[in-house]
Amino acid sequence: MDKTVNQKAWFLVLPVLILVAFSAVIPLMTVVNYSIQDAFAGEFYPLDDKLMWFRELLEDDRMWNALRRQAIFSATILAIEIPLGVFVALHMPKRGVWASVCLVLMSLPLLIPWNVVGTIWQIFGRVDIGLLGYTLDAVGVDYNYTQDALDAWVTLIVMDVWHWTSLVALLAYAGLQSIPDAYYQAAKIDQASRWAVFRYIELPKMMGVLMIAILLRFMDSFMIYTEPFVVTGGGPGNATTFLSIDLVKMALGQFDLGPAAAFSIMYFLVILLISWVFYTVMVNLDKREGN
């Protein structure tokens, strides 16, 4: 069947274009403008060295340290959440009442707003009144997330795993559900081991949704702000000051709009690069599956 080609259809995209212009393009342009000027008392003054803020940030350890902490955080939670999510999905009931019960229970953490999750864990981990902190203290573990950097890290990572593993599990579960029974029957005839079934049937079929899960979890964790802000506030010291926490400190705490704008642009470029890589890999996986 021939499809009608009508280029006027492009005008239907116009509302989205206008929306994106207001929510993304114009603010981004403004940030670029700010990044080469010095803001003082609501006025902007030109810099002698236009690239001064970029130069300062690239030479200073502050942004690199935040980037390093951010990379470690994202890598850690991905290394935990993806295998754990797949493991959970593999062991969820395939059909029946329990499947629904599991799905509802799994999705509960996803429904809780970020700042509430932060507050829950902030209280949960407290040594004086929190269940977790109090119990750990009672059994003799020296745990205090407000004073010990490692404890703060463990708390944040466990919190993120608690909050988001369900997302990975639900996506993986959806991927598993779409595998026809014929594959499993064929594997049974060949007497394939459990590992072989996972490696050659389930994993390839889940690859598409897993890439989406990795992308979503990576982006979310790379831009994480609310939860660590509520739980540790970036502390102790700067131990959990991730990129967006550092950026907000710079932009709103110190009111250094110029350097913060330069910081934002570099942050944005890193995110754009990684998203593009993920997107390209995803599209190419789809194409290979199609062939």
């Binding site: 114009i26 342009m29 403004t30 670029v32 403008n33 700010y34 080469i36 000027q37 902007f44 030109p46 236009k50 690239l51 970029f54 130069r55 690239l58 030479e59 570099m266 470029l269 754009l272 690069l273 593009w276 390209t280 190419n284 194409k287």
Partner: protein, 90 residues
């Protein structure tokens, strides 16, 4: 527009990008894009290669600023070489 704190350098920067986008749109209309597979072993169209060029150029400029730290305009020469390479081989 005052709140956007426009300056001439940034205005020229965005006009250049807008100009590139318009040019490539017209090119795409006149000479329809055909995807091809290059050294990255991914299918790219002319527009994809423009995106790769622009994103790469941003990193080249940052790397130049961080590693060399002077004569920033020369980074643009590296960008042009990079652009030619992308459009030829990617």
């Amino acid at each position: 527009m005052a709140w956007m704190a426009w300056t001439w350098p940034t205005a020229i920067f965005f006009l250049t990008i807008a100009g590139l986008l318009i040019t490539f749109t017209i090119l795409a209309l006149k000479f329809p894009e055909t995807p091809r597979v290059g050294v990255l072993r991914i299918e790219t169209t002319r527009g994809d290669r423009l995106f790769i060029t622009l994103l790469g150029s941003a990193f080249i400029n940052l790397a130049w600023l961080g590693l060399v730290g002077a004569n920033q305009p020369y980074a643009l020469i590296v960008c042009l070489i990079y652009a030619a390479a992308v459009f030829r081989w990617v």
